[in-house]
Amino acid sequence: MSYLPKSPWLVHYDASSCNGCDIEVLACLTPLYDVERFGVLNIGNPKHADIFVVTGSVNEQNKSVIQNIYNQMAEPKVVVAIGACATSGGIFRECYNVQGGVDKVIPVDVYVPGCAARPEAIIDGVVQALGVLEEKYKKMGKVAK
């Protein structure tokens, strides 16, 4: 057992979200949903974070930003794509400047559908991410050995 699932720290990036999913992510931190109960902190810095929460779809300009943030995170790390935009491009899929879901540029581990994704769904998504995190940690241990 590692302590990863007990203390998942998030870094949140608003790709080209409409803010709908964004504020729901923030809402998770606030009293009604309070994800700090699970040790979740919105740490805001990829170097400290275990879970990369992306809302919104990928466009020309934020593509590199998403990659940069992802690259700066320490293993083990998971990516949670939140909302229709981040999972598939959603309603903006056909816009000229939208390249699609986040999995176009980085590997995504958990998809949270919805528009906007509800806080409950986000919490579920994070909980699923914890499982993935634990698995990745085990794999990492094997590689090290």
Binding site: K47, S64, V65, N68
Partner: protein, 628 residues
Amino acid sequence: MNTVLFLIVYPVIVALLLLILPQLAIRKFIVVASTAILTAASIYLTATYFNTGAVFFEFGTEALNVGIFAIELVLAATIIIISIKHKQFLAALLMLIGAAMTIWFEQTYGEEIHVANNLFVDNLSLIMTLIIGIVGSLIALFSLGYMEEYHHHHHDMKNRTPFFFFIVYVFLGAMYGVVFANNLMWLLFCWEITTFCSFFLIGYSRDEIATKNAFQALKMNLFGGLGFSAAIILLFMNAHTVELNQLSGLASAVVLLPAALLAFAGITKSAQMPFCSWLLGAMVAPTPVSALLHSSTMVKAGVYLIIRLSPIFAFVQGGATVGLFVAMVGAVTFVLTSFMAISQTDAKRVLAYSTIANLGLIVVCAGIGTYELVWAAIMLVIFHAIAKSLLFLSVGTVEHNLGDRVIESMDGLIVKMPKVAVGMVIGIAGMFLAPFGMLISKWAALEGLVAANPILTVFVAFGSAATLFFWTKWLGKLIMIKEKPADFHPHVPGSQSFTLTCLAIMTVGVCLLFPLISKYSLEPFIASIYGHAYMLDQSNVAILLIMMALVLVLPLRLLSYENLNYKPQYLAGTNLSEKEKFYGSLGLTRDLSMRSFYLASIFGEDKLFKLGVVSSIILILIMIGVGM
């Protein structure tokens, strides 16, 4: 005795030799040899006298006195002529008054003056000897390579290197004279020579600013010299003595005013407020000059004198009040110059301010003059001399390689010039961090001050806080790890790197050895004056040594890191694949760039300087007033 004379005379001979033999190879040989000789002689002297207590030498003849008098007049005339040539009439006037006082004094009382002991050695002199002998001659050695490069960088300037070395060695001789003289008139003579040397060296480049600053230094130091002369005259008129060792035995009514005047002279020489501007101006001189005169030796003559006075402040009735005001001048200087150092971008100016601040702290200690504080003061002198000259010389070296000496240009120096940077880091750490020397002395100073005068600790507390700030930010600049520019090839001549290495080792070594220094040198010295000595708490010493050992050993850890995954800095997601660049607005590729805080709105020079000048002038007036 012979060694003492040798130490005074030898440098002067070397100086003359260097002046008449301008060939580079010969100079090199002479300087290298002299470094060895002076170092050896200083050590030998120390070894001879370090546990004999104070030893006095009668030495001296009438002819010598006449000779000194003659030289004084010639020098005075020279200075007056130079001053008038540069339309610096105030300087000429001050020199004239000084000369007039000397002549008048010689004429009126010349016959009556009988000096039992002209020279002496005690542990304080010995410590100064070592500083002059080792640090001083190392700096001379450093100058060898430096001056060559200096003229390489300033080719439009006339190369007067022989003259430079001449002055430097004359200065060393004079400095020995200052610390060995028991006859105050001799002391004054050497004192004035150091002033002149400083004048010539500041003005070395002969450009406008240099000349102006040289005269400023001259004026202020001459002004202090007037105080010195006046003190001697008063002393003789009232007490019929001009001997340093007699002072603390004199009656309070007789000695207080001369003591105040001497302290005043010390204050000018050690560039305390309101006279600190001359030392700042002196930074135009080539860097070894700053290291030699303006941090490790000449300015130390000022505090040396005040330390010599501290028994008077401690024992003579009413002396404590005079001492308190001396200390207050030091305290004000310490706080304000520490503050002002924060707002400086020029490395040498930071060093200058820090020097003034440290001298201020020494003045505080000497001014109160209890045995603990004298211990602290002398320790400060030692540590400061070494660490500061290391810093000055490193800055000089860096300046020649980077093209300027702005602190901001030094970021990443540890990557660009690792050795020099490590030296600088040691020097900086030596200036303000536990377990290094300055901090040990500051600690003793604090402990002494709390016992003697708690209000003064307030100054130390605030000043130290500022010190912490400006040193740390510089330190931070040096140790930044950044990409090394491909086209950067530093060049450090052998003489320079040798000096830097020696000084760095000494900075650390002195910290390791300080319990011994204290035990065998300072404690007996202080005990001889105060009857009991300052003893270090052994467990604290142990802790300090443990910390020191850790600081020395921990860096080995650096060698053992493996399996690290290198990731670039966090740049809010705008990183580019190139290191230390990011994709900025308007489609620009921007380099990382960082500038330290200078907080000019709070710690700017203009306001604080005025404040310091006004308050210190008031304090000095009171000090002299109390003496009367």
